[in-house]
């Protein structure tokens, strides 16, 4: 991701490096404040504003996708392949499931003239962990 940023003409700063290091290891879908909470531990000076700026930069350079959530906590997804997000309404976790698109964007375009630039597929419900807890009171 650092290389991609550099290619986009962006400067490589300590803060950006920290955010990217954090995101790289992750397949969950952290919110801006989760990212901030994590990186402040490594550099107490880093601001929430910068985390927002960096995430916005990564979104604009196409390295991360923004998922807007019901509760005003946007989440950031580093998985760029089209996939299904399984969103647990109880604990807020998001996991991925690979799949074929239900309709090819080219078909949508020839049928309706709509040009697709981003895809978002979600099933909402309860993850197995939360389901277990609820069943065992």
């Amino acid at each position: 991701m650092l290389a991609a940023l550099r290619e986009a003409g962006c400067r490589i700063t300590r803060q950006r490096t920290l955010v990217i290091d954090y995101l790289a290891d992750r397949d969950d879908h952290p919110s801006a404040s989760q990212v901030h909470a994590a990186v402040v531990r490594k550099d107490p000076g880093i601001s929430l504003t910068t985390v927002y700026n960096t995430l916005a930069t990564l979104v604009h350079t196409g390295q991360v996708t923004e998922i807007d959530f019901d509760d005003d906590h946007n989440r950031y997804d580093t998985n760029l392949e089209p996939h299904l997000n399984l969103v647990c309404s109880r604990c807020g976790s998001i996991s991925d499931l690979a799949l074929e698109l239900p309709v090819r964007p080219s078909e949508v375009e020839s049928a309706t003239g709509f040009v697709t630039t981003a895809v978002r597929l979600e099933y909402r419900g309860m993850c197995s962990r939360c389901g277990d807890e609820e069943a065992m009171p």
Copy 2:
């Protein structure tokens, strides 16, 4: 929808009737403030709070789906069948496209233990109208 509300044990008020009347005729996906703007014209006293309350009630009784939008304007969808939303990032219009689900929820459950309660499928991009305007400057 009124009947369903009554069955759910909710009271039928003038305000709720107005909101439902407005939604019933609609296949676009209005925001709370659009709904409010429309119903105030028929009853100048109705408050935005009540519109929010009513929409929340309809969501909880399963008659309407909430679509959270990037720009903080939630949108409400009366089409309960699983379908694809084509969201135009330029003008904000949303149109529907019927389709088969990419993965059956029962398959998701047996594979991952995740129990699906709601489905949300979106392609974002540019609608044909906006595409035409942009091509013709």
